[in-house]
Symmetry: C2
């Protein structure tokens, strides 16, 4: 991080509150070696994958080992009115983890136990520090899997806090649909439970879904119950190259409109295919492509694939190339997930500013094509990938953080893109969250009335504004 | 309603607030003929399908024709601190519509326009007074349908307010999963918007899902955007009779655990089959039965049905009897939906007290079988139906409302059932809501901490407690 003059929008408003000496003393007395004030530890917890720079790290890091630890840490914070930021693996793209108002970080990675696997009910209860890959490893023998896949090997806690989704969401939904129940430490350090393991309920306010996506601003999740799914009897993955982005996108739109239960359908533009080829030594055809996966019975998978091949052919798509074995599939999806790193490597020293708009499926072509034209005209290099079955895609603008001009251009492109998505009935963030960067966009998207209602809820549930303050909206 | 001495639990706490004369005058001045104080109109709006008796009707009924009407009515209520109860078709089973604290009813049935059909995006935006059957009629030409089906031809507003579900929820989810966006009049009469038409979003607090299921206590929904689904290429419905409830339930459990995407799977016990036969002149075999529907491609539907038939056979189920034509299917599902009326007719003058527990699927047999034994032993006649694919089922205890002993017995049975469901990790209400009757159950289910959080939110968003007060929890 050596940008001396970052663009204004990458330097968030910093208003650090005092951290009383008595608080640090009490914290150390309670947590001993599980509380660190070493600079290197604090710096590790003072950054994430966002492009934000120049935020001082938290004053201390508490390594929580159980719910009581979290409750006690939050109680001390409440007593001394010190901000508290839950921390998983640090894969946020929106500055969620930055201590813009000071305070402490609670590292939840030691709370990484799978607490109970209820295979017969297709549910599992985990601590927040369990990562999605760890979870899938630990339930392997059950024949079930947890589908939500945001790319990074994020924690279930972090994924819940940002309402994450990813490549499988088109079929299996997002964290919104897949979190059933929570244990939460509130801003006063009280432990509450929301939801049950029943698949549905009409029992009062949906506190579970209020917490999911609240970005740590209403409480710290300490147990999370999520839905699991039977591993499909058959899985097949295919690549299809297209003469144009437009042809690929129209194939997706028609597939969704026909109700084909496709499990994954990812768009990668020709430019990004080239980067991935260079990075992963693949020989993919350097044209816009869809990377698809079909889940179901053998006959069902075959039927879905035939339907989509037929649609693709109508739009000039090539014959599907199949990845049949698990190894081939893993290689393909790893290539997809490495698009980010491939892109970063294509411009040494760059940082990627990732967009995250999501629009109703019928508007996907309009939104995407105009934005590509605009971005091409800007001269900023970029990668482009998308969970297009949901209408969600990401440009990654590759900027030199030392070049304010590039930062400004990227920001202008993002603003134009978000405005377009909102005009088309979409959202500024499909899955990354608001964090620091999209607060203005949120106001435009949902209106002052709704943001005021969010503020009112925040004020009621966190009267001292200690839970990850300065994120989602200003108070 | 002629019960002179209802059981205590059917006589809710009534604490009617004063309705100032100046308020009624202002209301009449603003709404003219669209505001009625006629007793017959008020009485129509002072009851629902619950077993509650003896609640005085609201002081006035406003027939709202648009969002501005709702906003103006709520503003007047806010000014004079008068309670306001949104009213659809009055099909609540839990006393949601009763004016236990006085105030006015806002009848939303004139707000019954389908505002925009976005067939390409599989979404539709409606006013709250549109009923589910009307909606499906109006979108018939699009090849899409709205699957949520709570039995009654309820309004989309009422269904959203109670987080309704019904027979198709096992495949298509509940109102929780299917409401995308809302326009809401808040307790101050302000109009806000939540959500967008994008399929997913991480944009701030999930106000949409906070409103869904809030039973009118946080605001009045004035526009609702819901998801639609392509009409399946093939639909087939089948009946399967079983030697015992246990066999039927285990068939369901295994079907769900295998991930068969069954669209509907309803349990009807032998006793209820007998009632339905008598009511609808059907010749169904008077044994426990599953009523199933399969949606998909012709091959997919065949494959699903074969899998389930195989499971059923293992548990001693008979060969499926098929309803192939739309007319045969409609006849079957009408019989299912008429179970309530068939049961009521079997005991003249009775009322049905409906239970609504929902448990994790693996506990369904335990929960159901013990409850049947208990209910049989009580001597109270009952019907038993269930959306068993979701672990949700309903006993309907058929009681003479003039017989306090029967009321007490039914209440005791319900309490035992709910306690059992909660012990098994379930919920006291799968789809009917809390309303008046289940407030104690909610506290037991979710704990005081979560109910306190609900109260805190309610207090923050409705400081004068005018939005359908006295429901879900006491303040």
């Amino acid at each position: 991080m050596n940008a001396p003059t970052p663009a204004a929008h990458l330097a968030p408003e910093i208003a650090q509150r005092a951290v009383p000496e008595a608080f640090v003393t009490a914290l150390k007395a309670r947590f001993g070696n599980n509380c660190s004030t070493a600079l290197v530890i604090r710096e590790q917890h003072g950054r994430d994958e966002s492009a934000f720079t120049h935020v001082p790290p938290p004053a201390a890091v508490v390594f929580a080992e159980n719910t009581q630890d979290v409750a006690d840490a939050v109680k001390l914070c409440a007593e001394h009115k010190v901000p508290v930021i839950p921390f998983g693996v640090g894969s946020s793209l929106e500055g969620h983890l930055l201590a813009v108002q000071g305070g402490i970080s609670i590292d939840l990675t030691r709370m990484n136990k799978v607490l109970s696997i209820n295979a017969e009910d297709l549910t599992v209860t985990v601590q927040p520090g369990v990562t999605r890959k760890q979870l899938n490893d630990e339930i392997k023998s059950t024949g079930l899997f947890f589908p939500i896949d945001p790319g990074a090997d994020a924690t279930i806690g972090g994924m819940s806090a940002t309402r994450a989704s990813g490549t499988n969401a088109v079929r299996y939904g997002t964290m919104r649909e897949n979190v059933l129940a929570l244990e939460v430490v509130t801003s006063s350090g009280e432990v509450i439970r929301t939801g049950t393991r029943a698949k549905k309920s009409s029992a009062g306010y949906d506190l579970t879904r209020l917490m999911v996506g609240s970005e740590g601003t209403l409480g710290v999740m300490t147990e999370i119950t999520v839905r699991l799914y039977p591993l499909p009897e058959a899985i097949s993955a295919a690549i299809c190259s297209f003469p144009s982005i437009e042809a690929a996108v129209h194939t997706v739109i028609q597939t969704i409109q026909l109700g084909v239960p496709i499990a994954r359908v990812e768009l990668i533009d020709h430019n990004t295919v080239r980067m991935v080829n260079a990075y992963a030594k693949l020989g993919l055809r350097e044209e816009p492509m869809l990377l698809m996966e079909f889940h179901g019975s053998p006959a069902g998978v075959k039927e879905q694939a035939e339907t989509v091949q037929e649609i693709a052919s109508e739009f000039g798509g090539n014959a599907f190339e199949w990845a049949v074995t698990p190894e081939e599939r893993t290689r393909l999806w790893t290539a997809r997930h490495n698009a980010y790193f491939a892109a970063i490597q294509s411009k040494p020293g760059c940082r990627a500013i990732s967009t995250d708009t999501c629009v109703p499926i019928s508007r996907l072509a309009d939104c995407l094509l105009d934005s590509i034209t605009e971005t091409d005209a800007s001269g900023i290099p970029y990668f482009l990938v998308g969970h297009v079955g949901d209408g969600n895609f990401h440009f990654g603008y590759l900027i030199d953080p030392n070049n304010p001009q590039e930062c400004e251009t990227a920001e202008a492109l993002n603003q134009q893109l978000v405005s377009r998505a909102l005009r088309l009935g979409g959202t500024c963030t499909g899955e990354h969250g608001i964090g620091l960067h999209k607060m203005d966009f949120l106001r435009t998207e949902t209106g002052e009335g709704a943001v005021d209602m969010m503020r009112t809820i925040k004020r009621a549930l966190d009267p001292h504004n200690i839970m990850n303050p300065g994120k989602i909206f200003s108070m």
